[in-house]
């Protein structure tokens, strides 16, 4: 198999790596292995490759300590992690957890890239779960390894284990001046120990690294240009590939059919050739520019049905569908509650399709041979991608090797699987390794979008201002289960995730934070094959849920004349929800005022709003301060305040960075982002037709981490976006006295709302 290289010039092997190569666990070079792209001189390398550890396809046995970590002769450790780094710092956090239990410092721990022949299978890196679901195994394995090392040290030094302590991998006994390093005890040999999970863990009070703020290990290389992104990887002897598709996907169920294809139309680029399987069309060439030009110039026409509802008609179309319904959560009985209420608020809200639009379009490299394949891509789940690739290529999963390189921030299921399949199909057809790079319009146009949503909310209070009834009905389609490359190449029919799995109305945004005795949440699943492709987009649909729900809560507060923050405090019992609510309000210096006290008729109206919501775990609270230009309809978000309680924050600094990013991204999604489409296909294909927030309109941000040392760690990569969306919507009413019932809040939509009111 070919060796992927960052670039040929990095092939010389640093001595430190070479020394490790003699042991059982190797980073770096071997004749059958992979060239390390590690960079040295500034602490441990962010992520390198490791050679296959056993000669058999992974996943390695999770019940072996050696699966999780290795101790090297130089007294450093390699930690094998099953979660990918997505630019959020979770890899460094997991190294903190591991170093903490091993009593190493951060300069002594590093990890390797995810690789189905090397790293453990911890499931996909979804739902901000790296720390919540990833750290327990890594923590317990490290503790168990430490215990084993102490026993070795006890024998070696002839002292009881109880007399030993460890600092930076040096085991010392208080009985005499005896010490030995981890490296001397086991250096590059296997533990050969069953992983029982029974070793005692450190208590929170003993933590030195967990809860601290060591810097991220990937940032130095990311600013110097040394970091190897997926887009930088090359394979020897490879061709450059591009897919050729209609500009903008059509209705998911139909895919796209080639009507006419004129291969001679690229005769002026002799080095490029067309490859085709079914309706999957691509071009390959030795030089990248030839592939780009050939894809551009190839004369091809497509049959695409004109039966999409169009972005303007999508909400009415979804609402009119015969849906597959499921009660997600039911408490008490809402009917009598509404009958006895003194005030009721109702509303219908719309949220647009939105795109992942990763900043660098997805790509992948594949070297497909008759009996095996290597695919390098930016998947969130190397083992999951391996399985689907095996199906597409007609190979057993164990014959497919998938390696992960970080691309640009994906924020959910962007086109990485589609790109991996496309590269594999191109390589299979071309008979050579192929590097596929999606163009901007491929990524924007063939994304699996965050679905459009219709939310209908009713909420009711009694004479005391207590919320007594709440109902949320949500309409949207589910996520798509078959990638476009497979659909086009093999004719596999489109399919979506089943009802009850994947996308549902989320209690964490729809009422569950409040103490409401009668509550009913209903998911109305729209048949997705008649719409665009869908998948999880950071905090999936939560922005839409909170946009609808939190405006309804504010509506109730207004009806009884209570400040929005105070009204929420009165209706929340859960102290963790109260914690983030208070934290956000305090950061914003929220002074109680009668509802809508800010409404003005000035040209530029100013308002503030508060909101709550989360994804699946954790707790999010936010405050937004905005300005609305009544003449132009332009909304400017001036300052966002966000608080997350994610239990024990392993690295609060990383969570602050995540909160900051979430607040800005939410402002972008609430103000600008909308996938547009006509009856035939998607028309938002680049950054002009799908604008996002820019520097000039970026709000100030204030991030607050509510540290809970006594609570288990939960997610922090997407848990304040819903709250922020609700806060922006509420600030809009606070400024203008007008309900905004559809996002994004673009000037035409805002002006239309003013006209209606």
């Amino acid at each position: 198999m070919n060796e992927p290289t960052a670039f040929a010039k990095k092939e010389s092997l640093p001595r430190r790596e070479f020394l490790k190569a003699g042991g059982a666990l190797v980073i770096g070079f071997s004749s059958a292995g992979f060239v390390s792209d590690a960079l040295f001189g500034q602490g441990p390398p962010p992520q390198t490759f490791s050679k296959p550890r056993s000669g058999v396809a992974g996943p390695p046995d999770p019940k072996q300590i050696d699966t999780w970590l290795a101790i090297h002769a130089d007294n450093t450790a390699t930690v094998y992690i099953g979660y990918v780094e997505l630019g959020q710092g979770s890899t460094t956090s997991l190294l903190q957890v591991s170093a903490e239990e091993l009593d190493l410092d951060m300069s002594q721990v590093s990890t390797v890239r995810l690789d189905t022949d090397v790293t453990p299978n911890q499931g996909g890196t979804y739902s901000s779960s790296s720390i919540a679901r990833g750290s327990p195994a890594i923590r317990t394995a490290a503790a168990e390894a430490r215990q084993a090392l102490l026993e070795m040290a006890s024998k070696k030094l002839s002292v009881p284990v109880e007399s030993l302590s460890v600092s930076k991998g040096v085991v010392s006994s208080r009985l005499g001046r005896k010490s030995v390093t981890y490296g001397e005890l086991i250096g590059d040999r296997r533990f050969d120990l069953a992983f029982t999970g029974k070793a005692p863990l450190k208590s929170v009070t003993e933590y030195k690294l967990v809860g601290a703020r060591p810097p991220r290990n990937d940032i130095p290389d990311k600013v110097s240009g040394k970091y190897v992104y997926l887009q930088h990887v090359r394979l020897p002897g490879m061709l450059h590939g591009r897919v050729v598709r209609p500009r903008g996907q059509g209705v998911y169920g139909a895919g796209a059919k080639v009507a006419t294809l004129d291969e001679n139309s690229i005769a002026h680029i002799p080095a490029a050739r067309v490859v085709r399987k079914g309706d999957f069309v691509g071009v390959v060439a030795e030089r990248e520019w030839d592939a780009v030009r050939a894809a551009r110039d190839l004369k091809i026409t497509w049959d695409m049905p004109a039966n999409l509802p169009g972005s303007d008609g999508v909400y009415a179309a979804m609402r009119a569908e015969k849906t597959n319904d499921r009660v997600v959560l039911e408490r008490g009985d809402v009917t009598p509650a509404f009958a006895s209420a003194t005030h009721v608020a109702t509303g219908t809200y719309h949220g647009a399709y939105q795109a992942h639009a990763p900043f660098g379009p997805n790509g992948a490299l594949a070297d497909v041979k008759p009996d095996s394949a290597l695919v390098i891509c930016s998947t969130q789940d190397v083992y999951g991608t391996r399985n689907t690739l095996a199906g597409v290529l007609g190979l057993p999963a164990a014959k497919v090797r998938v390696q992960y390189y970080e691309g640009s921030g994906t924020y959910g299921h962007s086109c990485y699987d589609d790109a991996a399949q496309a590269a594999a199909i191109l390589s299979q057809l071309a008979g050579k390794p192929v590097r596929l790079q999606f163009m901007r319009w491929d990524e924007h146009g063939w994304d699996l979008y965050g679905p459009a949503h219709v939310g209908e909310v009713r909420a009711a209070i009694d004479a005391n201002g207590k919320i007594i009834g709440y109902q949320y009905d949500g309409w949207h389609h589910n996520w798509s289960a078959v990638e476009t490359s497979q659909q086009l190449a093999l004719g596999t029919p489109a399919a979506e995730w089943r009802l009850g799995a994947a996308q549902q109305v989320n209690p964490g945004c729809c009422g569950a934070m409040y103490d409401i005795p009668n509550l009913r949440l209903v998911n109305h699943q729209v048949p997705g094959l008649g719409y665009l492709k869908g998948a999880w987009l950071r905090s999936p649909l939560d922005l839409a849920f909170a946009f609808a729900s939190e405006q309804t809560i504010d509506d109730l507060a207004r009806q009884v004349g209570i400040d929005a923050y105070e009204f929420r405090r009165r209706n929340i019992k859960d102290e963790r929800w109260l914690g983030v609510l208070d934290a956000a309000a305090k950061a914003a210096n929220w002074q109680p005022a009668p509802p809508a006290a800010n409404i003005s008729n000035e040209k530029v109206a100013r308002g503030r709003g508060i909101g709550l919501g989360t994804h699946l775990t954790s707790y999010g609270g936010a405050v937004a301060e905005i300005e609305v230009n009544r003449e132009t309809g332009k909304v400017a978000v001036k300052h966002m305040y966000g608080a997350i309680d994610a239990g024990l924050a392993v690295n609060p600094a990383f969570i602050e960075n995540q909160i900051s990013g979430q607040l800005v991204q939410t402002a972008s999604r609430m103000l600008h982002e909308e996938v547009t489409f006509n009856k035939t296909n998607v028309t938002s294909l680049d950054w002009n037709s799908y604008p996002i927030l820019r520097f000039e309109e970026c709000p100030e941000v204030t991030a607050v981490v509510v540290q809970r040392l006594d609570q288990r760690s939960t997610g922090a990569g997407e848990e304040v976006m819903a709250a922020a969306a609700g806060a922006i919507a509420n600030a809009f009413f606070d400024a203008t006295g007008v309900h905004i019932t559809e996002f994004p809040l673009t000037p035409p939509r805002v002006l239309a709302a003013f006209r209606r009111s």
Partner: protein, 189 residues
């Protein structure tokens, strides 16, 4: 048709065999194997491919080779040396002050846009050593960030601006000290 084209990149001359209409980015990435400029849109909309051309930021994804022959191209990799040349330093620092400030502010998330952010900020600080908040936002407005990293980038640029001003002061002090030393030596002689 392809032919040899001479490119001056990071003060080194390279001869590449590529069609003159080839966008510079593909040659930097594929032929010269540089990792600073990178593909983002191919439409000059996002800034991930930015390089300095004779000291001014351009989008290499839409700039044909024919337009850059005979000019000096600086990529992220060459930025510390470019800075040293501007400042007449004897030795290039490991990082441009903007790069260092991005680390100090832990400004990065995925980091893919940071090539363009750093290139553009370096140009800004050359033209406007002490930019206001508004000047930073205006200068950087053509660079997008999907992760929402703008607030920290603004902070980092301010930090770099301060660091560069402090470095200038220390350069001047050294210069003055040197002059005094020379004068004394002359006086003694």
């Amino acid at each position: 048709m392809a032919g040899k084209i001479k490119l001056r990149v990071n003060e080194q001359v390279h001869e590449v065999d590529a069609a003159p209409d080839t966008p510079l980015l593909y040659v930097l990435a594929d032929d010269l194997q540089l990792q600073g400029p990178r593909f983002g849109c191919g439409l000059a909309q996002c800034g991930s491919c930015s390089v300095l051309l004779d000291g001014a930021e351009i989008r290499s994804c839409v700039t044909p080779l024919s337009a850059v022959e005979g000019k000096s191209i600086t990529t992220l990799e060459g930025l510390p040396a470019w800075y040293a040349k501007q400042r007449r330093l004897h030795k290039a620092p490991a990082l441009h002050p903007v790069q260092q400030a991005m680390i100090d502010e832990q400004a990065v998330q995925c980091g893919y846009c940071f090539n363009g952010m750093i290139i553009q900020a370096a140009e800004l600080l050359l033209q406007t050593p002490q930019p206001s908040d508004a000047e930073i936002r205006t200068a950087m407005n053509g660079h997008l960030c999907r992760c929402g990293g703008y607030p920290r980038v603004i902070k980092a640029i301010k930090r770099a601006s301060q660091a560069m001003a402090a470095a200038i002061d220390s350069d001047r002090e050294k210069e003055i000290a040197q002059k005094i030393g020379t004068t004394r030596a002359e006086a003694t002689r």
